[in-house]
């Protein structure tokens, strides 16, 4: 049979397949162009060395979390305990380092907890037939409670590293290298191994995935464990930036991750259209807005409002379903 030309660029079919990617790349490009032009008019350019390093330190924790969360979101699941996890891990690392002098020991303890939480979050959904958000909600409350207890017992609302020099974690180059390495690892696992392929298949159609021989419990657990490891990495940078942790460390991070992924064009239902680039693009869009908006004279307390408006626009573009319910 004969073929015509490929799908026309910007046609309706093209939008259906590439709409989300367009929103992801378009959002970050728009922010870059917009702030490149506007910020010099208000004095300092966003590309000055100091602002650029502010941007990187702002983006690093969110980007590490979002890229790590790609696996879980591709399942069509989400984890709302990661904010509390970051807070608790940061606290543990500071406390253990202060009492034993070993940073590594603190990190190892956090990894063990993260893997445990990952296994529980990944497995309960499938074994007990509840949505995995529910078990992560339980962890959110439990971990929050533990944090409160710790800080109550200490009688203070924050702890700081005493002897350890945390300035290494403020090095912008280290941040960039860690992020690049993470993106490479996750991209490899997500696109070129069974872990990623199976996770996307589960997100797209769990019944067909299972009938094709995918062990749902195993691959969901793997997805959550991968994320847990990167939550620990993020907690290290979160703690390292100030050299301290407090009872509010990590608050709201789980929602920031969700917003960043959606801004990057990640479908919340998961499946085949999930991409690692969504996490990177979305995190940078998010941070560009954070850093850029105050620079063009927008008061810090209205920045969230503007982010919300942009978020709504992106959601309307990417998450809308055109089909309605068929009436009788």
């Amino acid at each position: 049979m004969e073929n015509t030309a490929a799908v026309k660029v910007f046609s309706k079919d093209w939008f259906r397949t590439h709409g989300a990617a367009l929103a992801g790349y378009g959002g970050v490009l728009f922010c870059i162009v917009f702030f490149s032009i506007t910020t010099p008019l208000f004095g300092e350019s966003i590309w000055s060395a100091s602002k650029l390093s502010t941007l990187i330190s702002d983006v690093i924790v969110l980007a590490i979390l979002s890229v790590g969360a790609v696996f879980v979101y591709s399942l069509g699941s989400m984890d709302i305990s990661i904010g509390k996890q970051v807070g608790l891990y940061a606290t543990i690392i500071v406390a253990v380092t202060n009492s034993t002098g070993s940073l590594i020991l603190g990190i190892l303890i956090c990894l063990v907890i993260a893997v445990f939480i990952g296994i529980v979050n990944g497995a309960t959904g499938e074994l007990l037939h509840i949505h995995s958000v529910v078990s992560s909600l339980v962890f959110m409350m439990v971990l929050g409670g533990i944090s409160t207890l710790i800080y109550n017992n200490m009688g203070s609302r924050n702890v700081a590293l005493k002897s350890f020099d945390h300035h290494i974690f403020k090095n912008v180059w280290l941040m960039v290298i860690v992020l690049v390495v993470e993106v490479l690892i996750v991209t490899f696992l997500f696109n070129y191994t069974k872990f990623g392929k199976n996770a996307r298949a589960i997100g797209a159609n769990p019944v067909a995935a299972e009938q094709s021989g995918i062990n749902l419990v195993k691959y969901k657990v793997i997805a959550y464990v991968i994320m847990g490891v990167f939550v620990v990495v993020a907690a290290i940078f979160q703690m390292g930036y100030t050299g301290s942790a407090s009872d509010s460390t990590g608050t709201g991070f789980e929602m920031n991750v969700m917003v960043a992924l959606i801004l990057g064009g990640m479908p919340l239902s998961g499946g085949m259209k999930s991409r690692v680039s969504c996490a990177v693009l979305g995190s940078f869009t998010f941070s560009l807005l954070n850093v850029g908006l105050p620079m063009i004279g927008i008061p810090v307390n209205t920045v969230n409002l503007i982010k919300a408006i942009i978020f709504i626009i992106v959601v309307l573009i990417t998450c809308r379903k055109s089909r309605g319910v068929l009436p009788r």
Binding site: K197, A201, V207, K273
Partner: protein, 502 residues
Amino acid sequence: MAHEVIFEAKHMHKAFGPTIALKDVDIQICRGEIRGLIGENGSGKSTIMSIAAGMQPATSGEMIYKGQPWHPKSMVDSQHQGISMILQEANTIPHVTVAQNLFAGQEQDFSKGGLINMSKMYKRADELLKKFGITNIRGRDPIDRLTFEDRKLIEIVRCVTDDTEILVVDETTTALSHEGREILYKLIHKMTEQDNKAVVFVSHDMDEILEQCTDLTVLRDGDIIGHLTREEMDAPDAVQKIRLMMVGREIGEKYFREDFTPSHQEEVALELQNISFGPIKDFSLQLRKGEIVGMGGLSGCGMHEIGKAAYGLEKLEKGQVLRNGKPIKSCLQAIESGIGYISKNRDLEAIILDAPIQTNIVLPSLTALTKGGFIRPKDEKKLSDAQIGAFRIKCGSGKQYVNTLSGGNKQKVSFAKWTAKGSDVIVMDCPTRGVDIGVKQAMYALIEEMKKEGKAILMISEELSELIGMSDRLIIMKDFEVTAQLERSKDLKQTDIIEYMI
């Protein structure tokens, strides 16, 4: 006959990316006719009516409905204006009642002060079901408790209202039970003969078309090849003539297996030992290498459940499924030990619609494709392209999404998964459902080839002709019990079998 034209399409053209589904097609539908649309998979027969019913827009061309230009915005819009379409695949809303499905989108009619009067809705649902002659389903039944076949009936009841002017039935009968079909036939004859409405019947079941339709249009590769009137359909050589029009070449004599002696190797490939679960009690079956065992019966007789059990999907109360001496308790174990399963519920269980063809085909083979810790995209493409070629799946490339394929081509994808995996035992539940003659012929040849390679095949089917044509041994079930076991023979006739089924 000078019937009033109710719908007309002029120069209708539709392309899915590089694939052309319809080439500049003109068609007229008149009141009072049951128009059959017949053609192979991907011939465009469903596409024409899905455009008319507002499911998707045409790439170019115009439509006229009741004398006015017709631009349906959606299927909802089209249904309000009187063109309703019953789709091939299950389309009910899960987890709610039958009545809620029937009146989805019309809840206002039953609500008072923001509350829905459910008992009123159930009552209306019962009346409606009765009007359609459905007596075994009630409005308050949860939809999940209905069988696949009964859910299809609910869709029909939902689609057809007094305002329906054109009813499009798209390959629906293959998904209906025997009684369901009778209800549908009665309905379409009433609509056309008494109410002077139009029915478009999309199918490739030739017998059904010849029996039910008043007019027939044959399509091939997106073109209309010809029209047949009722008189022409009654001609003695009509079947050959239509087949030739559909396929475009003589398909030859060979269709089913040509040998009539049952044969198999000695080694047992799969054994079901006295399994009991749900209503099925003490069922046993030995499937040997190189053997095709056919299972037939009315849907609801338990044969589909046996297929699921053989694949480890059912929880057994007693007995066990053995493969190479080891019990199979889950579908993961089944796949690891070389069993493949093609589900009857294709779009929900057998394939991932929202994924490329290649992803679907390689999915069970990912472990085998992993080399040195990762999967080379080149290897995936090679495996998938080989299957796309072998099955002649009609697509631009393996990257095309499965939801853009026609029904038969989707079925080929779900078949290709297991040939790519190289499974030794394949359980097929209605393997040729929604597949047309040309492809069926190829699939039968493929199944025979598998048999020669020593693969064991359990073929569950509602089509007696293919069961007789392909099986070495035939098991007939009725009400969850085996009523007959028949050996392959030249003298086996459909009429001999039916008495064991009903």
